[in-house]
């Protein structure tokens, strides 16, 4: 059994508050928790929306904040990111796909695949033909070794009325490939800022709260004109990958008031 740490939706900014939350305080708390209790993790995966606004300044500040992490970081793109700027500022594993933030990492008895679902200029996600073809090649190369896929945009409808429209728009094409590879055990996604679990044809799809702010639950109903972040504590995922099972612990990073909106 090996352990990795999973963060999502940092929405980092060098100076500003985001949705009245402090991204610097929240990420600092997450790094402190990881350094205190999870230095045995093989890596820390961040499923996208690394920054709130893609700029050199945002990524430079994020790089400085992440430099305190005692475990290697694996960044992914979300709809707030930029392929080029993320690649310019943050380290990727060797062999990463050119021009995208998409790569595979061979862990002990498990293959981690990070997908780049960013469709620049849109909130929804997309895997173009080149990225889908790369995925197919990576799954073929993994053979019978269990695979976990990390991506920002969720490839299934989750029953979240305001968030489902901005999922992976060509999820059908994604599943047409993945369904042919029973080695795929898990999909870990961000984007929705809520914890959910879905089981689909042998694959468990899990989403994670944001490090920064949480989307409201479905009840009472809300829309974008009434949107206000839920006053819920932020969490990280502690993912235990074993040969026969995967277990995810959702661990509180800090109290809501620590960096949360007043």
């Amino acid at each position: 059994m090996q352990k990795l740490i999973w963060l999502s939706d940092l929405h980092y900014d060098a100076q500003a508050l985001v949705q009245s939350h402090d991204p610097r305080v929240r990420l600092e708390a997450a790094v402190d928790l990881i350094n205190a209790h999870h230095t045995d993790a093989v890596c820390c995966v961040v499923t996208g929306d690394m920054v709130e606004t893609a700029s050199d300044a945002s990524y430079a500040a994020l790089k400085a904040a992440l430099s305190r992490l005692s475990v290697p970081v694996l960044p992914l793109t979300g709809n707030h990111d930029s392929h080029a700027l993320l690649r310019a500022h943050l380290p990727l594993p060797d062999g990463a796909m050119p021009d995208f933030v998409q790569y595979a990492v061979a862990l002990d008895g498990h293959v981690l695949i990070a997908l780049d679902t960013l469709d620049e200029g849109k909130d929804s996600g997309l895997l173009c033909e080149a990225r889908l073809s790369w995925l197919e090649t990576a799954l073929e190369a993994a053979g019978e070794t269990p695979v976990s896929i990390f991506m920002h945009h969720q490839p299934v409808k989750l029953g979240l009325a305001m968030l489902d429209p901005d999922n992976l728009t060509n999820a059908e094409a994604f599943w047409q490939i993945v369904d042919r590879y029973p080695s795929v055990r898990n999909v870990f996604a961000g984007h929705v800022h809520r914890p959910t679990t879905t089981h689909r044809k042998g694959v468990t799809i899990t989403t994670l709260p944001s490090v920064l702010y949480q989307a409201p639950p479905e009840h009472p109903p809300w829309d974008w004109t009434t949107f206000a972040p839920a006053r819920e504590a932020t969490r990280l995922g502690v993912v235990h990958l074993g040969p026969e099972q995967t277990t995810v612990h959702f661990e509180k990073i800090c109290a809501y008031d620590h960096g949360g909106a007043p």
């Binding site: 350094n35 093989v42 890596c43 050199d56 430079a60 790089k63 992440l66 430099s67 305190r68 992490l69 005692s70 475990v71 290697p72 970081v73 694996l74 690649r87 310019a88 500022h89 943050l90 380290p91 990727l92 594993p93 060797d94 062999g95 990463a96 790569y103 595979a104 990492v105 061979a106 293959v111």
Partner: protein, 84 residues
């Protein structure tokens, strides 16, 4: 004479430099810097080929070992995982 450059280390690498957050070596290029780091910190040497990325003045330098360095270059040595 080679410039003396300061290399800032990500936290995951500091155990290999006796806890130092930054170290100084004499190097005019990234390749010379990596060589000098390996000589000065043998525990770090095994990591240098595949498990680090180098950032100079805010930009990742993928494979350019000839990229020039000066005493004012902002250099980060970042831990990374091997792809596979």
């Amino acid at each position: 004479m080679k410039p003396r450059v300061t290399v800032h280390l990500w936290a995951g690498l500091r155990a290999l430099t006796d806890g130092a957050e930054s170290v100084e070596v004499e190097a005019a290029t990234i390749g010379q810097m990596l060589y000098a780091l390996g000589k000065a910190y043998p525990a770090l040497e095994d990591y240098l080929e595949d498990n680090v990325s180098v950032s100079v003045d805010g930009r990742i330098m993928a494979t350019d070992l000839t990229h020039p360095l000066t005493e004012t270059s902002e250099i980060y040595l970042m831990q990374r995982l091997r792809g596979g």
